[in-house]
Structures are given as structure tokens and as C-alpha cells.
């Protein structure tokens, strides 16, 4: 089939996104679960609470801390990633920094907001799924945010049927196979402003290709935002109705 990707999608199609709020309401202030294709992430948020250590106390704002746990069975190979694993630490800092700038931290001085993320299954776009899950969990916890933070991946296919010398369309929302094959990037935007709060790319790509990749990524973020917003409204309505009875 010409023009279709290895999982049968077109270049601008997202994978199925399933999200849920308040998945573990007994042991966290806010929690969420998101599936993007076969990438599955669980996120718990606690706080604002008293900081766990003295160092984390900030006088004028809340501290945001983030813990990421990779399940050993989440990838194709069984790998146990400890706390000091470089990939884990990079994910933690990326998420922590992203959300420190989006949460209205000045409202909760001398307190701590803890985000803990469990990655249950990896199939490409792990960082994006983590960011989306965190946004939902923070909303569930009732922590004031500037707006939704939505993340999406995009990749530049080095197409074989490219005769006219034009660059082929970038692919939206890559899976594991595509991610390990062609250069991809993760982009996160705030609300529907199309402004980028986080951007990360690890592969080599020509600078001319970059613009298209970012543009496709941003359009994906908009779609993800729509899906997330729908779920938040549905969940809110269901809760409200339960409270009315």
C-alpha cells in the first residue's frame, strides 16, 4: 500500500489515545492513565504538601519534583532501570522543568508537588505520553495550571518514492519501530497557543527538515489537546452527576 506507514496509518494520523482520570484516587491527590497506541503510562500526583526535605523548601513558590519508574517489562528487552539511570534522570528533569513553568507555583509557597510516573509499556513517544499523563493528573489533583500541556512526536521519513526532489511529509506520532529507524522529535505546547514549552530531538537531521517536523508536531499537540479536554469534561460531568444524586 503506497503512502501508508507500517501500522497502516497515514502521515498525519495519531494512534488511538485512551485516557482516564482518578485511576488511583485512594493513594494520590490526582492520578491518570494514558495509552497512546501501545505506550502505557500511569501518573500519580501528590500535593501541594509539606516538602519531604528541608532543601526543597522555597520561600516564594512550590517546588515541583518528579520521579519516573520504568517497569522492567515495559520495553522489548527486559531491562531494569535504577534511580541513577541516565535516561530516567533525563526524563525526570525534562518533566520537572516543563511543569515548573506551567504550574502556578507562586500560589503554594513552602510546599512540594510530587509527580510520580510509572511507565508500563513503551512503544515510542514515551516522553510525550509522560507529559500528557502528568497534565491530566495535575488537573485531577486540582492544581492550577496556566493551560493544558500537550506533547506529541513527529518524524522525518526519508522516503523512497521521492522523485521530484521535494521533501516528503513528516510523520505524526511515531511508534517504536519508526522511532528507532528515522529521526524524530518530541514537542510540547501550552494550550492552543502553539507556543513550545519543551522540545527535544536526539537524532541528526537537516536544518531544512526541522521546520516541517515542528509544524506537524504542533498540529498533533492540538489534536491531543482536544482528546484530553473531552475526557476531562466527561470525567467532570460524571463526577458532578454523582455528587448531585
Amino acid at each position: 500500500m503506497e503512502g501508508l506507514r507500517n501500522d497502516g496509518r497515514r502521515w498525519n494520523e495519531l494512534r488511538r489515545i485512551h485516557c482516564q482520570l482518578s485511576t488511583s484516587s485512594t493513594n494520590a491527590d490526582g492520578s491518570s492513565y494514558i495509552e497512546q497506541g501501545f505506550t502505557k503510562v500511569l501518573c500519580n500526583v501528590t500535593g501541594p504538601a509539606e516538602p519531604s526535605s528541608r532543601q526543597k523548601v522555597k520561600q516564594d513558590a512550590a517546588t515541583v519534583s518528579c520521579e519516573v519508574y520504568f517497569a522492567a517489562f515495559s520495553g522489548t528487552d527486559r531491562i531494569k532501570r535504577g534511580r541513577n539511570d541516565k535516561k530516567v534522570q533525563e526524563l525526570q528533569t525534562a518533566i520537572q522543568k516543563t511543569f515548573s513553568s506551567v504550574i502556578l507555583t507562586h500560589l503554594f509557597s513552602r510546599s512540594e508537588i510530587t509527580i510520580s510516573i510509572h511507565i508500563l509499556s513503551q512503544d515510542g513517544g514515551t516522553l510525550a505520553a509522560c507529559i500528557n499523563a502528568t497534565t491530566l493528573a495535575l488537573i485531577d489533583a486540582g492544581i492550577p495550571l496556566k493551560d493544558y500541556v500537550c506533547a506529541c512526536t513527529s518524524a522525518q521519513s526519508t522516503s523512497i518514492f521521492d522523485n521530484e526532489g521535494t521533501t516528503p511529509d513528516p510523520w505524526l506520532d511515531v511508534n517504536y519501530l519508526e522511532e528507532s529507524d528515522i529521526p524524530s522529535l518530541t514537542v510540547a505546547t501550552v494550550g492552543d497557543s502553539e507556543k513550545i514549552v519543551a522540545l527535544s530531538m536526539e537524532n541528526k537531521v537537516r536544518i531544512e527538515m526541522l521546520e516541517g517536523m515542528i509544524a506537524v508536531g504542533i498540529s498533533g499537540c492540538g489534536k491531543v489537546r482536544g482528546i484530553m479536554d473531552e475526557e476531562v469534561r466527561r470525567h467532570g460531568k460524571a463526577r458532578l452527576e454523582a455528587a448531585m444524586e
Binding site: 528533569t93 511543569f99 513553568s101 497557543s193 502553539e194 507556543k195 513550545i196 514549552v197 504542533i218
Partner: protein, 216 residues
């Protein structure tokens, strides 16, 4: 990274900056396959060279990432590996006095360029600054590091958190980075050439012979 560089660095406690730095350098140089790892192989699946780059920061006045990247690339380009001959089971590492050591095969020079963002001005235009000082870094609202080589290939981009920036501004920064890198690349090449000439004063013929790359 010790207290010599800046009083804010403590001994033995790796900071966030530490992690970001080592991860960024690893992504920029190792993952972009700047160094041909196969050339470090002596006997397949048995013996390989191990290279290690140690960075010591002497004084911190901002932009540690870019400086560290330029230093690492220059060091790698300057480094010479002793010649090894393998005959059957025997591996001989020739001392420097016996055979002229060869340079590493660096495929390209990825160079980091960091931009600092200071929020929007009155006209809604993002204020961005290149090569920030320590004071500017303390005041900035966001940052982005782009790694480019002189061929215009982006090897790595990372912007985590900070102020939200329009995609257009980011692209402008990336293009500017590609421009700047060409200049930095020339600077490194000039410094290396200068060093080579100074080291081999009056003995340049011998140097040419010893080089692995030639006019061909």
C-alpha cells in the same frame, strides 16, 4: 565541577546542571556518531580502545554547555592514538617515538549553541540572548540548546520547560546557530593548525609523512 569554578558548586554533590551537561554532551557527540567507533577497534569482538574525556571547569561565567562542547571536540580532534599492528595473535602498540600516532577519525564536529530567553518585550517579540553570562543565566526565563555541525545538520535540540516560545522564534534560533557554528568551526580548525605548526617547527616534512590523511 568543583567550588573553584563557582562558589555555588559543592564538592561531591552532582547538581541538575551536572546531569544536563553530561547528557547533552553525550547526545551531541556520541549519539550523533561524531566519532567513528569502529576505528577504535583493534581486534574484532576482543580488543578495543577506550576513550575518556574529563572536563574540569576552572571558572564559571555562564554558558558552560557550549564551552564544554567546544573543548571536548577540540580535544578529540587534537588527540593522537598510538599505532597498533596486529599479526596473528600478537598485538603491538608502537610507542610514540617509534611510529607517528594517528588522529581519531572524527566524522563531523557537532557544536552546541545555547540561547537564553527573557520573555516577550512590549511588541510581543521574544527577547533571546546568545552565549549568556552567569548573571544573565540566573535571570533568564528559559533556555534552549541546539547542536549543529558546519554542514547544517542538527544533531540534537533540547528545550525543557521555561517560557513558552513560538516555533518561528525557535527556528530562527536554529538557523542562527547553524551560522555561528561555521565561525566556531573555523576557530577550532585554526587553533589546531597553529598548534600543529608550533609543535613541529622546522620538521614539517616528517609531519606530513606521519599523517594518515594525505592529498589523495
Amino acid at each position: 565541577m568543583g567550588p573553584m569554578a563557582s562558589p555555588s558548586f559543592e564538592v561531591g554533590r552532582p547538581t541538575d546542571l551536572d546531569h544536563t551537561l553530561s547528557r547533552l554532551l553525550e547526545k551531541s557527540i556520541r549519539r550523533s556518531t561524531a566519532l567513528d567507533l569502529e576505528s577504535l577497534c583493534i581486534v574484532t569482538a576482543q580488543r578495543v580502545w577506550s576513550l575518556r574525556a574529563d572536563l574540569h571547569f576552572l571558572s564559571h561565567d555562564g554558558n558552560l554547555i557550549d564551552t564544554a562542547c567546544i573543548a571536548t571536540i577540540t580535544a578529540l580532534a587534537h588527540f593522537r592514538l598510538p599505532v597498533v599492528t596486529v599479526s596473528g595473535e600478537d598485538i603491538t602498540i608502537h610507542p610514540v617515538t617509534e611510529r607517528v600516532p594517528v588522529p581519531l577519525s572524527l566524522l563531523h564536529w557537532p557544536i552546541c549553541v545555547t540561547f537564553s530567553f527573557f520573555g516577550e518585550d512590549d511588541d510581543g517579540e521574544m527577547v533571546c540572548v546568545l552565549d549568556a553570562t552567569a548573571q544573565e543565566e540566573a535571570l533568564r526565563e528559559g533556555d534552549m540548546t541546539v547542536t549543529v555541525n558546519k554542514n547544517g545538520e542538527v544533531c540534537q535540540i533540547s528545550k525543557s520547560g521555561g517560557v513558552a516560545v513560538e516555533a518561528e522564534t525557535l527556528m530562527k534560533c536554529a538557523r542562527m546557530a547553524a551560522q555561528k557554528v561555521k565561525g566556531i568551526d573555523k576557530l577550532i580548525a585554526a587553533a589546531l593548525r597553529e598548534d600543529e605548526v608550533a609543535r613541529n617547527k622546522g620538521n614539517l616534512d616528517w609531519l606530513k609523512e606521519g599523517r594518515s590523511e594525505n592529498e589523495r
